[in-house]
């Protein structure tokens, strides 16, 4: 069946406007500070909104009423600041009668889902990887009609706050499955995934003295996995098992490190830059990959 395409402007619905009209959206999209301010992750926010618009789900954002969840403060030990932030946000969300929150940030996800209930904020919280998986399962997203990822190599980097912190390992992988790409697992994946180095408020400080940056260690593993470089994989520290058998060869054209977290995005992208591999390896969020495969970018 032939299709015609058109570029449609999107006016992102604000919760305050909906409430003024007496409407309530099905989901509240919690953008997060990185999603709102970080130039790179704003593209993920926009990609995710395109998907929301495409499937026609009723949603809203808080806009300027949103504030940091308090995650970095809590991980850094500033419980006072965390609780101030949490209670302010809970008051906003409860004020609008929000039931269901979707976010593209695993740190916001973990904080709202696990730490807000003790302070009076009980919401159904869904990470965008799980949300995208649901859309795919319902057939609302097919990843057809846009960029083809067929035959390209993709490796998924587990975010600690999605994986170990909340046991979400399969949803992002099922989302990537739909791209029909060549999916490769790093040696340290899922429960054994290696942190990108940004969690626990490390994002905002220099690393302590050491012999290497954590994101470089992780990027080396990702690149070696995509390149099928068994020598590098064998020499990685912290793994006692033997290297997995990888297809040989140097299929370096347009490989992708897939992430599902704004901090992982920054760290892995910096790592790729550090290794001078920007020309052939890109770092993308799941939402960007899906929006682009679905042909939604305009």
């Amino acid at each position: 069946m032939a299709e015609q395409t058109a570029k449609r402007p999107v006016s992102v619905p604000l919760m305050a406007d909906l409430a003024a009209r007496g409407e309530s959206p099905e989901i509240l999209f919690w953008v997060g500070c990185a999603g709102a301010f970080d130039d790179r992750y704003k593209r993920v926010t926009r990609a995710f909104v395109r998907i929301l618009e495409h499937v026609g789900v009723s949603y809203a954002v808080l806009g300027m009423e949103e504030s940091c969840t308090g995650d970095p403060a809590k991980r850094a030990g500033n419980e006072f600041l965390f609780q101030m932030q949490a209670m302010t946000n809970i008051a906003t969300l409860n004020g609008y009668g929000i039931k269901k929150v979707v976010t593209a940030c695993p740190h916001c996800f973990n904080t709202i889902k696990n730490e807000y209930p003790a302070l009076g904020g009980e919401f159904e919280v869904i990470h965008h990887s799980t949300f995208l998986q649901q859309l795919i399962n319902e057939g609302k997203v097919t990843a057809k009609g846009g960029e083809s990822f067929k035959g390209r190599r993709i490796t998924f980097h587990d975010s600690c706050y999605l994986g170990r912190a909340n046991n979400i390992y399969e949803a992002p992988r099922e989302v990537l499955e739909v791209l029909d790409a060549d999916l490769l697992e790093m040696k340290r994946c899922k429960t054994n995934g290696l942190c990108c180095g940004a969690g626990g408020a490390q994002m905002w400080k220099d690393a302590e003295p050491g012999k290497k940056e954590i994101n470089v260690e992780r990027t080396e593993e990702a690149l070696a996995t995509l390149d099928g470089d068994a020598d590098v994989l064998l020499n990685l520290q912290g793994v006692e098992s033997t290297a997995p058998v990888l297809p040989a060869g140097s299929n370096r054209g347009g490989s992708v490190i897939a992430v599902a977290c704004p901090f992982c995005m920054t760290m892995m992208a910096d790592g790729v830059k550090n290794k001078e591999r920007e020309s052939d390896v890109q770092v993308f969020d799941l939402a960007e990959l899906i929006a682009s495969a679905e042909g939604l970018n305009a």
Partner: protein, 494 residues
């Protein structure tokens, strides 16, 4: 046909060797002597000493802050069954898992024979469990096979530990006492097995020379009888030496446990039972702060009256976070006693892997050493045995004010290197959570001392002023939605 007969013969032979040549129950020999009185004294002293040490350790654990761990009993029991009894998390690494399984099963099964030794020792019987008949042969036979496997596993362990083949057995916290301790355990295990085989082989040969049949099956000791003398008296003495060495060795080892990482054979079980059930990403809520913040946001909020001493006087104020061991929860101190220093946590720690000072194992070991320095130390180990070379800051130790878990043992540099990634928590085979202690100490640094790294203070004030950890204006928060377009797809209508 001939083949089948041969197979049958082999099976029959194996059966007879394994289940004993004499399945008929015999009269259990009784010979009460001065040895039995001596044994009673030794056993009472051994168990009494252990009870005395166990009380000290219990008191050490209870200096920690109270934490209500009641409820969820079925869930906790199930987890204990899987992780502690079932060694579930050990099997993330197959080689050590199988070696450990041999020693673990050997420990449990061979200890059934310890019951026999105790009864024989007290009542002057000889191998009283022989009334079990074929079952006794199964027991002794299994013991012998496991005993031999334990020796092989221990040799493999020794090699892995001392030939520097496994990176996690190195590291600054594994010098001095912990390094010695790890080998002492292995040597003791070999000595105990040697005693067992000496006893069995001497007993077996004694019976053979006297033309009697020893109840039980001895597939390993029967291979060793050639090494033993033909002199009846010498054999009788050797049998006694083996018997006494085995039981005295066990009692000594029992009293060595509280000073050793080997204490995990007991403490792993309660530690897994009391480990967290909530998602690993959920950090604890500080309730006293919740009251303060609520009162700040709502002036009509009534802060509940603080807990008081039984006589009505105010309790000493507890600091936010943890400066010393008594500021940690009792479960954190229980964990310190169940740590077997295997280093799986440190070997997967992203900070440690990239050369930072942080080692989750060291934090757990420091916690145990500090609680023993400040409160009770067990019989053999004293924190002074833990060499100063393992400490990062010997100067600061001289400062009495700062001679606490934080700073005296664990430096802020270690704490700030943590990415809170939970890899250490996931890796621990006995469900220890080093992250909890790290966060509690960070809380003390930030809330009591305002001693966060400067860049984090900047992040804090950004959140306070802009509602974001970066210095962006809150009015720009919605700018991402500007000039946003989506490609609309519609089927072409005819």
């Amino acid at each position: 046909m001939a083949k089948l007969t041969a197979v049958k013969a082999v099976i029959c032979y194996a059966y007879r060797v394994y289940f004993g040549l004499n399945p008929k129950p015999t009269q259990i020999p009784v010979h009460f002597s001065i040895q039995n009185i001596l044994f009673l004294l030794v056993a009472v002293a051994g168990f009494g000493l252990f009870a005395w040490q166990a009380r000290k350790i219990r008191a050490n654990i209870l200096v920690g802050r109270d934490r209500d761990m009641s409820g969820h009993v079925n869930e906790r029991l199930w987890k204990t069954l899987l992780v502690a009894f079932g060694q579930q998390k050990m099997f993330k690494r197959l080689t050590p898992a199988f070696l450990h399984l041999i020693v673990y099963v050997g420990f449990i099964v061979i200890n059934i024979e310890v019951i026999e030794i105790m009864v024989d020792g007290l009542f002057g019987t000889h191998r009283f469990l022989q009334f079990l008949g074929p079952l006794y042969s199964a027991l002794t036979g299994t013991n012998e096979v496991l005993g031999a496997l334990v020796v092989l596993a221990v040799v493999a362990f020794w090699w892995r530990r001392n030939a520097s083949v496994v990176r996690r057995f190195t590291g600054p916290e594994l010098r001095a006492w912990p390094k010695l301790d790890a080998n002492v355990i292995l040597y003791v295990e070999v000595i105990l097995m040697a005693a067992l085989f000496t006893m069995n082989a001497a007993d077996l040969k004694l019976h053979q020379l006297e033309g009697k049949v020893l109840p039980g099956a001895f597939p390993v000791s029967s291979l060793l009888t050639g090494l033993f003398p033909d002199n009846l008296t010498a054999l009788a003495v050797l049998e006694r030496v083996g018997w006494w060495a085995h039981i005295v060795g066990i009692l000594l080892f029992l009293n060595y446990l509280p000073s050793s990482k080997h204490f995990h054979i007991i403490m792993a079980f309660p530690n897994v039972f009391y480990s967290r059930l909530v998602p690993q990403g959920q950090f604890s809520n500080v309730e006293s702060i919740t009251h303060e913040v609520k009162a700040m946001m709502d002036p009509s909020y009534e802060v509940p009256a603080p807990a008081t001493n039984p006589d009505g006087s105010a309790l000493a104020p507890t600091p936010f976070g943890a400066k010393d061991v008594d500021d940690l929860a009792w479960t954190n101190l229980l964990s310190a006693y169940s740590c077997t220093e295997c280093g799986r946590c440190t070997s997967v720690c992203p900070a440690n892997l990239t050369g930072k000072l942080l080692s989750p194992r060291k934090i757990i070991m420091d916690t145990r050493d500090r609680v023993e320095e400040k409160y009770n130390s067990p019989l053999i180990f004293h924190p002074s045995l833990y060499g100063p070379e393992a400490k990062h800051n010997p100067q600061e130790q001289l400062d009495k004010e700062n001679h606490t878990l934080l700073r005296g043992y664990v430096t802020p540099e270690e704490l700030w290197a943590c990415t809170t990634c939970n890899a250490c928590v996931e890796a621990c085979p006995v469900n220890i959570n080093p992250l909890e202690s790290i966060v509690e100490m960070r809380r003390f640094l930030v809330l009591e001392e305002s001693a966060a790294p400067n860049s984090l203070n900047v992040m804090f004030s950004n959140i306070e002023n802009n509602g974001a950890p970066w210095a962006f204006s809150p009015s720009d928060r919605f700018n991402w939605a500007d000039d946003l377009f989506v490609t609309e797809k519609a089927p072409v209508t005819a």
